[in-house]
């Protein structure tokens, strides 16, 4: 699936998007896999309360299932308007 990062999450991880091959069942499982990769991921995901997630471009919870999902995005709380 495609994993996208925005704002300071993108800056900490260092790329705006990447293709990830994963068997993760939920967003939380995917986060755990990413955190285990490298320090920059571990740092970016160290406080989930300061992060939001979208699954296939809709806001979701960290326990959302990933079966059939094409795109997951991680970002800080939004500041539109």
């Amino acid at each position: 699936m495609e994993v996208l990062y925005f704002a300071w999450v993108r800056e900490r991880i260092g790329v705006p998007r990447e293709h990830v091959i994963t068997q993760a069942a939920t967003v939380a499982d995917l986060v755990a896999e990413l955190r285990a990769r490298e320090d920059r991921y571990d740092l970016a995901f160290s406080d989930l309360s300061s992060l939001r997630v979208a699954v296939d471009q809709e806001l979701a919870d960290f326990d959302a299932p990933l079966a059939g999902v094409r795109e997951v995005a991680f970002f800080p709380p939004m500041t539109g308007g």
Binding site: F6, A7, A73, F75, M78, G80, G81
Partner: protein, 147 residues
């Protein structure tokens, strides 16, 4: 209904006039415009706005559709810019058309409250001393509870 996520500036007067035209059964048009505001202590050089192409348009359309249904609007418009803006520039606008003013005002507030914390935009303020991502405010989240 018109949704636009764009880098270029928009003409508030022209957009408002066009929006207000052609609704013979709509007695009230409300427009709101957001402006890049300078910072009192650390002058703002620019504001950079990032967004999530695809999700942004869908989120704005969803909000506008909700507003139309909930407040019986005849029409709704949302324009939101991204990229690098300087103080005084217009960031975004909403416009609502309803038979009566109460619905038009409330729908504009509803749209603004949702835009603040449910539209995937992120702002970064750039000053002479550095740059910082704008943090979301608890009150913006709390504002949604009244709807």
């Amino acid at each position: 209904m018109r949704i636009s996520v764009q880098e270029e500036a928009f003409d508030l007067g022209a957009v408002s006039t066009e929006f207000a035209s052609g609704h013979k059964d709509m007695g009230a048009i409300v427009t709101f415009t957001g402006i890049v505001r300078d910072l009192p202590d650390d002058p703002l050089q620019a504001m950079e706005i990032e967004h999530y192409p695809g999700m942004t348009e869908a989120a704005l359309r969803g909000m506008a559709e909700q507003a139309v249904e909930r407040f019986s609007l005849g029409d709704a418009l949302v324009i939101h810019r991204y990229g690098r803006l300087v103080p005084g520039e217009m960031i975004m606008m909403v416009a609502t058309a309803a038979p009566h003013r109460k619905d038009a005002f409330e729908a504009a507030e509803f749209l603004m409250d949702y835009l603040k914390s449910r539209a995937p935009f992120w702002k970064r303020e750039i000053t002479a001393t550095g740059s910082e991502w704008v943090e979301s405010k608890d009150e913006d989240e709390d504002a949604l509870t009244r709807w």
